[in-house]
Symmetry: C3
Subunit: 325 residues, 3 copies
């Protein structure tokens, strides 16, 4: 979804086959549009399958090609060309690292001078030591505190409020968003695999998207996605010292209290309330209108409208019963 937004790099499918040294014939040498997750992939995209949890997404993917183990090959729709690999994830990473590595690197960017910023943006106010990279885009009526850094092609829309000591990279911040002091938005996520004893870093090409009217507290971390984006929904409020890992997607009108941690690739619905210090494991799906008590540890999916608490988190009723004994 996001790579070509940034890149518009033209890669032929045949060159990927060649890079993997595969001896297969392809019918049509299409132009690879994007590297995407199974669910987000569109026609022209390349995807991969390596986690059984996503088997339903596999069956419905719209991708044009998929790096996949031979034993799952038959789950693919006809429209998707299988690239057989018994190390699908590793090979997918290698492809990205080969063709897109430049997007994975946090370059020191060329910054605009104070004078230049003032000339380019007449409707924003900013404090001391504002470091604004050349290719950043800023809207109107933006307030920026002291020691703020905005970089890596980030886009900040109208009426956004940014505190002091904030770093924003690889991000789209929609209108009316508040980001409080000391938060770091859009650095690469924590992704490593040891494959055959060798360290493989998972590339991070995704963005952070903070939708309109959201609020991010102080000293928070929201990491950029790997091959999808990290998303914070509209009117979602996040308190201080919250950690949002790569690929997490949070819905609208959520309230997330201080020191919560949400692990990679978890998807959270709308109107979800999460109490302070709660933690949610990776690759989970939390429904709409869910309430998660403070300090809970959520380790499995939660359906809509549930109220859970405890570690591991169980229904509030069971939690109260268990602790009455």
């Amino acid at each position: 979804m996001m790579i070509n937004n940034i890149l518009k790099k033209k890669i032929k499918f045949a060159s990927i086959i060649k890079f993997l040294k595969l001896n297969i014939k392809i019918k049509k040498n299409f132009l690879v549009k994007n590297f995407s997750s199974l669910k987000e992939a569109k026609k022209g995209d390349l995807t991969f399958f390596s986690n059984h949890k996503y088997i339903n997404d596999l069956k419905k993917t719209e991708a044009s090609a998929c790096v996949i183990s031979v034993k799952y090959k038959n789950f693919l729709p006809n429209s998707c060309f299988p690239i057989i690999s018994e190390e699908a994830f590793s090979d997918f990473i290698k492809i990205i690292n080969f063709f897109y590595n430049e997007f994975n690197i946090d370059k020191i960017s060329q910054n605009l001078s104070k004078k230049h910023i003032k000339k380019k943006y007449k409707n924003i106010s900013f404090g001391e030591n504002f470091i604004c990279e050349k290719f950043v885009k800023l809207g109107k009526n933006i307030k920026i505190g002291n020691n703020v850094i905005i970089k890596n092609n980030s886009i900040i829309h109208d009426n956004v409020n940014i505190g002091s000591n904030v770093l924003i990279a690889n991000s789209i911040v929609e209108k009316n968003v508040n980001i409080c002091d000391g938060s770091i938005i859009g650095k690469k996520g924590f992704g490593f695999k040891f494959i055959n004893g060798k360290l493989l870093r998972i590339p991070h090409l995704g963005k952070v998207i903070i939708k309109s009217n959201a609020e991010i507290g102080s000293n928070c971390n929201i990491d950029r996605g790997s091959i999808t984006d990290t998303v914070i929904g509209e009117y979602t409020f996040i308190d201080n010292q919250v950690q949002i890992a790569h690929n997490v997607k949070i819905g609208n009108y959520c309230m997330i209290a201080a020191q919560v941690g949400i692990s990679g690739s978890t998807i959270i619905g709308n109107h979800v309330l999460i109490g302070g210090q709660a933690g949610i494991s990776g690759h989970l799906k939390i429904g709409n209108n869910v309430k998660i008590g403070g300090k809970s540890g959520v380790i499995k999916n939660i359906d809509d409208n549930q109220f859970v608490m405890g570690y591991p988190a169980i229904s509030l009723r069971d939690f109260v019963k268990k602790n009455k004994k």
Copy 2:
């Protein structure tokens, strides 16, 4: 307690009645001195009642007027005029937002130049990129690291040590206090209410008061109070990555280990020890000489001299017994 310290704005009681469009007659059109909590209010102050937990404070309040539901009206002392509202909290917020909104906004302030600071303060040492707002007051023998920001009328007393990358706003820091690198003191708290589907932001007019000889670790957050102050007591030591929410009051000689979180309006006694990663819910009262084990989740009041542990926190004896099974 704090508003007039900052403000000295003169508001007649009648103008509040008028703003609420209430058709009531008042005997005496007094000058509203402050907007306060039930407990802290003095003669001349306006307060509100919306949480049953504070019923004892209601009976003893010294406030001159109180926004209150009709069914609690008779608990008020005779000296306190009831302003009847079935949305007492919401109406109280609306009053503050109308009359005091300017104190709720984090303005970009006019800063002193390095030259000016050196001229004004001969007895302080400070590092690079010190951003000091014009109306800040600094005492003697203060040491300030690099990239420090002090703003919004904060007062720093003698012999205070401030690390690097620290932001202090809306705060009074008493003598001999240490504040370590990366901490953010005095930003507004996390306060939102959805009332009838509309988002209401709770105003934050309170200060942070850090009493003498206290120490604040690194990358901590201490939010300013809403209509009361957030207070850290004398000789209280706080480790790294601790989150102290709005209105929290911590006594003297407490030790708070790393990654602890204390939710809004909780009051903690003297000589309290809190282990790492413990969490305390909001609006609780923790007695003197209490010990809270690491990683505990405290969800109810704790009497003096107790040692609690677990989630939910129970007495140490019960915790050990429970985990022997």
Copy 3:
């Protein structure tokens, strides 16, 4: 181990005896090489014994002298001279504070100008507002973001990557290490004792050593050691908002997820995996190849190859059984 690396201060053993006002005769007035822990001490070093957990280290210490209670005196090897004190820890601290206090204070250092840095280091790139203390040593091919502070004689080896808003003090960072945005490395640890009602600050003279190819996430804290070093092993990866207290030693090839907290003096083996928000008490020993589930609270030593979970952490098997009921 570390003091003379920094100091090369010459202290005669007799002057320590004199400072403590002890009326004992010493055979040989040797030059004290270092102040060390029992385990790390070498010939010529002074150490202390105050925690029964370290009784095995006591029996094998190579130190030349040890501050120790009379009742443990006989556990000392013959090569080690006992300095009898019923307040061994307190007296050891007093000695350090008297002879070495200057290393305990975070001085505002003299910084190099941008021009000077560029002249001195031709092979590094750095962003805006780089604050580099005069006695820092930088290797080749180092990338440094914006608003970075490096101070107190820190040494940064080749190919290190440092994000923005990072503070490094009292540290040795080996080659190929990544340190992400907002992390604070090498500030003094959280160490206080109330002895006879008087506050005693534990001195911090140790360093942080981050070994080659390690990675530190964003908004992390790694505190310097008190009389030993805090160590992060090779190829150890640490996620965001992790707190590592003073004297902690982490082995090689560990993975530590976000918001983990490790208390003071705990030693962790190689190839250890620690899930998000887990906490580990102080003075523990965690073996090699240990897995600690997310949000676990570890309060006792763990042998090699164990998988633990829960609070208090128990074997995974017991945890699953317990939560099935």
